[in-house]
């Protein structure tokens, strides 16, 4: 029994870390658009959602803290890139707004479905956070769907750019569902439904929205998920991000803000 609880804790920590790191890294990436958004109103909306994502990651880092991990700020800003568990997808550098919009759409839907499932998790602290942020997540995908539709059905250029961005993002997006080492245990303990089930739900939800936006999901024979992020394999994209993100914090780690 005691062994079971300890194993469980490791499994839950792994789940929390990958979620928290995804949210922190994408929140940071999306915040890079602040001041550079296509129009003022969208700049504010996109920045506000990026802040929400960072807030959600903070909530998860707080749970990790309660489970004996470092204090949230230290955990977020003092780790090296190789100790991050985010998918490679979220660390990709921003290019144009087409790619950021596609990533926003693909990730935010997966994120909403993940938290939706976790709202009934047997691990109560996580269930509680999920229920609390439900409304924000609903708005995030509401926003993402409208942009996808608008740009997918816009003019020739916007449509072509969105399709190119979707093709580029797709295999990275599939990498979000990379399985962890404790997958079976999390499912058995009713902590989380598992990555496979989540991916299936995600495909069911996003497919009609993508079709309505007049875009095409790459054909299944070309699907090749880009994995490794969950196990700490990252590219220079994350090194660059982690260095920049923790730059100020590292000047004076104990400072009160």
């Amino acid at each position: 029994m005691a062994k079971n609880i300890i194993m469980n804790n490791i499994a839950i920590k792994e789940l929390l870390y990958k979620m928290a790191d995804d949210l922190l890294v994408l929140g940071h990436r999306n915040s890079e658009w602040t001041g550079l958004g296509p129009i003022l109103e969208e700049d504010i909306a996109f920045s506000s959602m990026a802040q929400d994502k960072i807030g959600h990651s903070q909530a998860l880092f707080s749970i990790l803290y309660d489970l004996g991990e470092p204090e949230p700020d230290t955990n977020a800003f003092m780790r090296e890139a190789k100790h991050f568990h985010n998918s490679q997808f979220v660390a990709l550098q921003n290019d144009d707004y087409d790619f950021s919009t596609i990533r926003h759409f693909l990730f935010y839907h997966a994120d909403q479905l993940r938290f939706d499932n976790l709202a009934n998790s047997s691990f109560e602290p996580l269930a509680k956070v999920s229920r609390k942020i439900k409304g924000e997540l609903k708005y995030h995908v509401f926003h993402a769907d409208i942009w996808l539709n608008k740009l997918g059905n816009g003019n020739e250029e916007s449509h072509a750019r969105m399709q190119t961005a979707l093709n580029y993002a797709w295999n990275y997006a599939l990498g979000m569902f990379e399985k962890g080492d404790f997958e079976e245990q999390l499912i058995a303990e009713k902590v989380f439904e598992g990555e496979q089930s989540l991916q299936n739900k995600w495909l069911t939800v996003i497919t009609p929205i993508i079709e309505k936006a007049n875009l095409k999901i790459p054909s299944e024979k070309d699907w090749a998920p880009i994995l490794g992020g969950r196990k700490g394999y990252h590219t220079e994209n994350l090194d660059q991000l982690v260095t920049e993100m923790g730059e100020v914090f590292r000047i004076e780690p104990g400072a009160e803000w």
Binding site: I39, E41, A45, K150, E244
Partner: protein, 123 residues
């Protein structure tokens, strides 16, 4: 190169003589009027405008511009060009003569009567 300490600007690789075309006239989306309701049953109150390419996005932006902080139950957006309004040059249609003050709500001296009643009945 434009030297900026902001990493986002630095990454843009902007040059001093960049060929940014000047904005043409009306190079902006249309405006939508935003109405904000604090609680169900309250009146929607006009709070300002947003620029947007269509009404769905106007609603998104209205939510973020005006519903992000504080209490919100509901948001309305209306295309500014769909608002039918009086002209300022016709502002004189709202003028009224002093003799008609009896028709204004302020003309009723009802508070005197209420206070008198309260005093007599010690409410």
């Amino acid at each position: 190169m434009i030297n900026s300490l902001d990493p986002r600007i630095a990454r843009e690789n902007l040059t001093e003589d960049n060929n940014i075309a000047p904005l043409t006239e009306m190079d902006q989306f249309e405006t939508y009027e935003v109405f904000h309701q604090k609680k169900r049953g309250d009146q929607h109150v006009h709070v300002g405008i947003v620029h947007a390419p269509n009404i769905e996005m106007a609603l998104l932006f209205g939510k973020d511009q005006y519903g992000r902080r504080g209490l919100t139950a509901n948001i309305w957006v209306v295309k500014t060009s769909n608002v039918f309004c009086t002209e300022y040059e016709d502002q004189d249609i709202f003028e009224t003569t002093p003799e008609k003050q009896y028709r204004e709500a302020g003309g009723y001296k009802v508070m005197d009567k209420i206070n008198k009643y309260k005093k007599e009945n010690k409410v």
